[in-house]
Amino acid sequence: MTSPAPVAAQSPALIAALLAVDPARLGGVVLIGPHSAARDAAIEQLLAPWPATSPRRRLPITTTDDRLLGGLDLTATLAAGRPVLDKGVLHASNGGVVIVPMAERMPALMASRLAAALDDGKIRLERDGVSAALPARIALIALDEARDDEAGLAPAMKERLAFHLELSSLMPVRDWPPAADAGSIALARERLANIRMPESHLAALSEAALACGIDSLRAPLMAVSAARALAALEGADEVDADHIAQAAALVFSHRATRLPQAQPAEPEAPESPEDAQADPPPEYAQNEADDKTPETTADETERLLEAVRAALPPGLLAALAAGATRARQRGAEGRAGARQRSASHGRSLGATRMNSRGGRVHILATLREAAPRQALRRSLQGTPGKLRITRDDLRVHRFESRRSLVTVFVVDASGSAALHRLAEAKGAVELLLADCYVRRDRVALIAFRGAGAEMLLPPTRALARARRCLAGLPGGGGTPLAAGIDAALEVCARVHRGGDRSAIVLLTDGRANIARDGAPGRERAEADARVSARQLRAAGIPTLLVDTSPRPQAFALALAAEIDGLYLPLPHADARLLNQAVRATAQDGKARA
């Protein structure tokens, strides 16, 4: 076996060939990196092995269902006088390649449509009076332009695309080997059905996936298909150890959530190439940290939660979101996360009679109203052929646009927030999360301690995940308060860019001792924190500062004033203090409202 050890892809050539040989089982490839000449060259290479006549389409992430899946072709219907099908992008790309730019911002709805197409190889269309089953066997190239700190491609997509190409880790373009041509791909496709795969190889791939901490069973199945495609390209009759090693490297390395432990001697189990891995994913780092966290007993935690429960005024988040304290929230219109009936944009709620306010004509509904009357109108008017529509027939769209709220929780996990306070803070966050659940908002989670702040969870609707993330949060280290606030600001800026609103809940004891640049020192740290607070105030984001120190800290209070947000001290379980705190907060809230 003199073939080189398997490595992660250094050029798109091999992946391009494999994808063209078996697109149905391999799904596609994620191309990670910003828009650049190298990326264009990569896309060219990925498309090269496909026959010139196969469709290639760019799919903007703003594509709506009716363009994506298809529906009624209105113009043709009106011209022909009977329903004519409009086939949609997915069916039009059948047997070809679909490229999705800015794939990391793909809405969940679109991701689910694409996922279904990748799984079934066809679209079942039941829209706008049309019922059809259309083949849609496509290969997907997802262009992921997310920066390091942003959420990447939706998991439903990542799961179904076998390969990853990290542009920054590829060789320079001029060193790339040429892509395979359509002829050799066609030959390989023919050989594919007859390639033998010993069962031991199947088992080895399954085991390797498990060892890498890959939960999904799609991964080993895709690796099996990749191995077969590799063998087919080489002209071999049977899949051998090199093939599965290479397949595992290509399919598993970017999905691994842990490095495999040293396995007992297994001649065929391929080594996962550690060197080719990107930075270890946050889950891995989290698992390690978990081992070092000491635990409170279950009873203690319950007691703390009770105390927190009693102290938090109800509807706190609602008050925050309603902007009771924020007069100048950017783009404030309507209630947070509330539904707005709109005449022009949002999600369609169907059609209604047109009134004086007008609106966008819902052509299909209008057609349905007018159609049965055509015979009568024709007989009255005499001239055949034209479709006659009167004002009474007109129907307009009713839309509903929803601007959701993202609540960013910024948790102080430093050593000064001693362990039991952290537990209380976590309890407070849990209760606030429950509030979010009720209104189906999204949450994001940022923790700061030691050198800086870390985004634990990008804005997500999966509140159970948020809770789990929070539960596993360890404590210790200095308090980089400024960094925490800065990180929150960044997340909010991104949320606003996406068109949603945001609110911040900052849990800290206010004992800032790490400045923005990471240097220790109380004075500088506090000064930096104030600067960040002022930026927060300027951004106009509603903020709640929960003071988790045993006695309400002057600095925390001052910071809340700088931010111009709500201040809430989290008291010990003391009945008198509890009452006072609750009353004080209620009065405070009233005063500001």
């Binding site: 089982r25 269902d65 709805l109 829209r127 009076g129 849990e430």
Partner: protein, 338 residues
């Protein structure tokens, strides 16, 4: 279609579906869990598994053939149309496609006939097609709220009422609602959860031999779908016969008051809301007993799907998805012994 009997593991989901096939009044199954666990595959394979039903040929609502009434001789006039003959068809398992619009789900004006002939007729939708069968909603947590509400209402009432575009139609729509989804993509509303009879957590198997077997079978199926399915035909036929027998004998299964008391106590201990939990528990227990070929329902039958009937009905911390199942298990152990 990948055969139901060839699916490795996922015993709880398979049994839940079989129970709903035996007794449709149980109220459907919600399968939630990890990606790539074969949820959709299992549900879609039901059509090939279940015993076929008798319908009137060409009937858009899958209605049973009209009973052979003794027609008086006087109506043997030339105008009497021939009654549609009875045929056997597989149980309808209708997949609600993603992106389906309301008019195709509920049914609407037949546009073609309206445009070409100028008459108003009703074109039945997916709910009509699902009558007497199953309606499967994949990614139920992504479905628009108003569509979910509509489907739940129809599932509960068993009838589809259409008032639109000048049409006024009512037709039977009795089906078992099956939903699947991944909670990581979004929480399910509590009202939605409660309407499903059973809920099942679907997880990818963690032990290596099972995982290898899943990969092996899936690979073999993809290489040769027809051959693979044929290998499992015998198993499928056996299971089909067993289900048919259970359906036939469901009415004869006896349950005594002691069992009712146990069910009530279990629900009381867990603090389930309302009485739906008890009713579902009992129905499911009887279906399981019928499936086992027993004449009487025992505690063992009750236990089998008790977690599925109860885990989504606990007055619970909505963020605490793990503890629901374990709370049910614990309560069962305490009450019924391990």
């Amino acid at each position: 279609m990948f055969p139901f009997t060839a699916v490795v593991g996922q015993e709880e989901l398979k049994l839940a579906l079989i129970a709903c096939a035996i007794d449709p009044s149980i109220g459907g199954v919600l399968a939630f869990g990890d990606r790539g666990t074969g949820k959709s595959t299992i549900v879609r394979s039901l059509a090939a598994l279940l015993p076929p039903i008798q319908v009137a040929e060409g009937d858009p609502y899958n209605l049973p053939p009209a009973p052979a009434t003794a027609t008086p001789k006087t109506t043997k006039s030339a105008k009497a149309p021939a009654a549609p003959r009875a045929i056997k068809v597989p149980v309808p398992v209708v997949d609600l496609p993603l992106g389906a619009t309301e008019d195709r789900i509920v049914g609407a004006l037949d546009l073609e006939r309206a445009l070409t002939q100028g008459i108003k007729t009703f074109e039945p939708g997916l709910l009509a097609r699902a009558n007497r069968g199953f309606l499967y909603i994949d990614e139920v947590n992504l479905l628009e709220d108003h569509l979910v509400d509509l489907l739940l209402d129809v599932a509960a009432s068993g009838e589809n009422v259409v008032e639109r575009e000048g049409l006024s139609i009512r037709h039977p729509a009795r089906f078992v609602l099956i939903g699947s989804g991944n909670p990581e993509e979004g929480e399910l509303r509590p009202q939605l959860l409660d309407r499903f009879g059973l809920s099942v957590e679907v997880r990818t198997p963690t032990d290596l031999p099972t995982r290898i077997e899943v990969v092996k079978r899936r690979d073999a199926y993809e290489r040769d779908p027809a051959g693979f399915t044929e290998k499992w035909d015998k198993e499928t036929a056996k299971l089909r016969a067993r289900i048919a027998k259970a359906q036939a004998h469901l009415g004869e299964v006896e349950s005594d008051d002691a069992l009712l008391e146990i069910a009530a106590r279990l629900c009381q201990q867990l603090g389930t809301d309302g009485l739906r939990a008890e009713l579902t528990l009992l129905r499911v227990a009887r279906a399981v007993a019928a499936y086992a070929g027993a004449k009487k329902v025992t505690v063992a039958h009750l236990r089998e799907l008790a977690p599925a009937a109860l885990r989504h009905r606990l007055r619970r911390d909505p963020l605490d998805e793990a503890s629901a199942s374990s709370r049910v298990e614990r309560a069962i152990q305490e009450l019924l012994g391990s």
